[in-house]
């Protein structure tokens, strides 16, 4: 990787033998370093000028990169939002105990007392049929229909917060509750919490694979674009090699081109994700409101944005590197 090192080291070996001495004032190491830095700056600027000189084809390449990166980035943001949304449900298991409609109030009272005394139960919340009905009416808007009913069809429900999250203990507790003659059904809300965590992990894994695949695609797009650049500047490469250009010198402008493709692609990808978020934030808020949630669609943090744009620039550089390594050393004066 000697491309980022001043081209001075080997010079000493070849030069003194040929130089006749006093006639040529050699250049100092300091001069060379400055010349090298200057060349980097010039090549970066020149690569940018070339990028802008063919705006349409450059834009196409950048857009391809942008789309390839925007997809996983959008999924990532979506997943982060999803996790954010479900974070409110703290994942603590809950047991809903639906009581038999025919159970007498005293029996229910006794049952509630037993539950409170149970060491496996941390908290008991009773939802009376009246409460449940009121809530249902408020949320569903079916109040009129329910008014027509002779009696409240809803049972009493006890919402239990178990003292432990231990799977076996929870099952024991649920089974004991089911066995009681007073209960109609018992729902242990632990499975979906687990399933949610598993699904999230799976989505993350898929996203990672997807992103890796698309990153390879980005690199290949840049490799091909830079290969075309190299072909179109063949004559120039031959001439500079003839006047003593090292491979590192010849590579430099192409590496910068790749860097610019990646960087602009990354920026456009970021823009696409932001645009998508802007379009979705309204509907997402409505949806959240209908769930009485304070959830708000979150954008991309600065770190993620820098990661996206910087990563894109690195992928561009990588693609250019592959292209120059494969194609430049083969172009030699004949």
């Amino acid at each position: 990787m000697n491309h980022n090192r001043p081209e001075t080291s080997r010079r000493e070996t070849a030069e003194p033998k040929l130089r006749s001495g006093a006639s040529t004032a050699g250049i100092t190491a300091n001069d060379r370093l400055r010349g090298w830095l200057l060349h980097h700056r010039e090549m970066a600027a020149e690569a940018w000028r070339r990028f802008m000189a063919a705006p349409l084809s450059s834009a196409m390449t950048s857009l391809v990169i942008a789309i390839a990166l925007a997809l996983p980035a959008a999924l990532y943001v979506g997943l982060a939002n999803f996790q954010q949304a479900v974070a409110g449900w703290d994942g603590q298991p809950q047991i809903s105990v639906f009581m038999d409609k025919r159970a007498r109030p005293q029996a229910l009272q006794q049952f509630a007392g037993k539950l409170e005394a149970d060491p496996l139960v941390a908290e008991v919340q009773e939802v009376t049929p009246e409460q449940a009905l009121a809530e249902f009416e408020a949320q569903s808007g079916f109040g009129d229909v329910l008014d027509g009913l002779q009696e409240n069809p809803l049972p009493t429900v006890f919402l239990l917060r178990p003292a432990s999250a231990n799977q076996a203990e929870l099952e024991t507790l649920a089974q004991r509750l089911r066995d009681s003659a007073l209960t109609d059904s018992v729902v242990l809300d632990v499975a979906w919490v687990q399933r949610l965590a598993q699904l999230t992990a799976l989505a993350q894994r898929l996203l990672l694979g997807f992103a890796a695949l698309l990153a390879v695609g980005v690199v290949l797009v840049v490799v091909n674009t830079i290969r075309l650049h190299i072909e179109s500047r063949r004559d120039e490469i031959l001439v500079v090699k003839l006047v003593g250009a090292t491979n590192a010198f010849v590579r430099r402008p192409f590496l910068y081109s790749g860097f610019w493709y990646g960087l602009t692609g990354g920026l456009v990808a970021w823009g696409l994700v932001m645009l998508g978020l802007a379009l979705l934030s309204g509907p997402a808020q409505d949806l959240a409101q209908s769930y009485q949630s304070s959830f708000e669609l979150r954008g991309m943090g600065v770190t993620t944005m820098l990661l996206l744009v910087g990563g894109a620039a690195i992928l561009g550089l990588l693609g250019a590197w592959v292209a120059v390594m494969r194609h430049i050393s083969g172009i030699e004066p004949r």
Binding site: E15, L18, R19, V240, V243, G244
Partner: protein
């Protein structure tokens, strides 16, 4: 300065472009290399500039054994040789100035030194007034002189030219040859390949003649043409 010891170059086609050539050129000499088309002149210059590798034999340039030169060392070696080759012409996407500046940028000179040296080189070939022009707007003779300016801008100790007067009329050819004489006068070793025997004879310099890859003549021709 230059030493060929029993050098043979066989191309992949099986063609022996040079066969057991031995020669020596001292520091500060001006030498012409002649021979019919296909005699091996270009091949000899390509071996000298490490563009091609010899099949057999040893080449030493400026104390450097080219057989021991690694790929990575070749660029640094070339920076000490001014090369005027017909098929490696000027770049038409940049000015005369930028064309001549290439060897200096490659070697990492500071911009102020680049400008000073480029102007000095263009002044020597009489093209200082055209530095901002695109070389495509210049005449054939002027383009050749830009190529020479590019070859000498780095003040090489050795200058090699392959058919530098190939497409030029006699007057312009004489002018270009005059330039080589000037560079030689300030101590540069110059080797010029040309099949223009008439012109070479008038120069009254040492001549190496090749025929079918073999060195058949080495000396200063008399007033009469001296074919072998």
């Amino acid at each position: 300065m230059i030493k060929f010891d029993n050098v043979t170059k066989r191309y992949e086609t099986g063609q022996d472009a040079l066969a057991r050539v031995s020669l020596e050129i001292g520091r500060g000499e001006l030498v012409f290399l002649t021979g019919h088309s296909g005699a091996g002149k270009s091949t000899l210059l390509k071996l000298l500039t490490a563009i091609e590798k010899p099949t057999r034999g040893q080449i030493i340039v400026g104390g450097q054994n080219l057989g021991r030169l690694s790929r990575g060392q070749v660029p640094y070696f070339r920076r000490n040789i001014g090369i005027v080759f017909q098929n490696h012409q000027l770049l038409f996407d940049r000015s005369v100035f930028d064309n001549v500046a290439l060897p200096l940028q490659v070697a990492g000179y500071a911009p102020r030194d680049v400008a000073r040296r480029v102007r000095a080189a263009l002044d020597k070939v009489g093209l200082l007034s055209k530095e901002r022009q695109n070389p495509i707007a210049l005449s054939g003779g002027e383009q050749q002189r830009v190529g020479i300016a590019r070859a000498v801008v780095n003040k090489p100790s050795l200058l090699v030219a392959d058919e530098p007067t190939g497409n030029l009329d006699p007057e312009l050819s004489a002018e270009v040859m005059g330039l080589f004489r000037q560079f030689n006068a300030v101590g540069v070793t110059v080797l010029v390949a040309s099949h223009d025997l008439e012109l070479i004879r008038r120069m009254q310099q040492r001549v190496l003649a090749l025929q079918a890859g073999q060195l058949i003549y080495d000396g200063v021709p008399a007033h009469e043409p001296q074919p072998a």
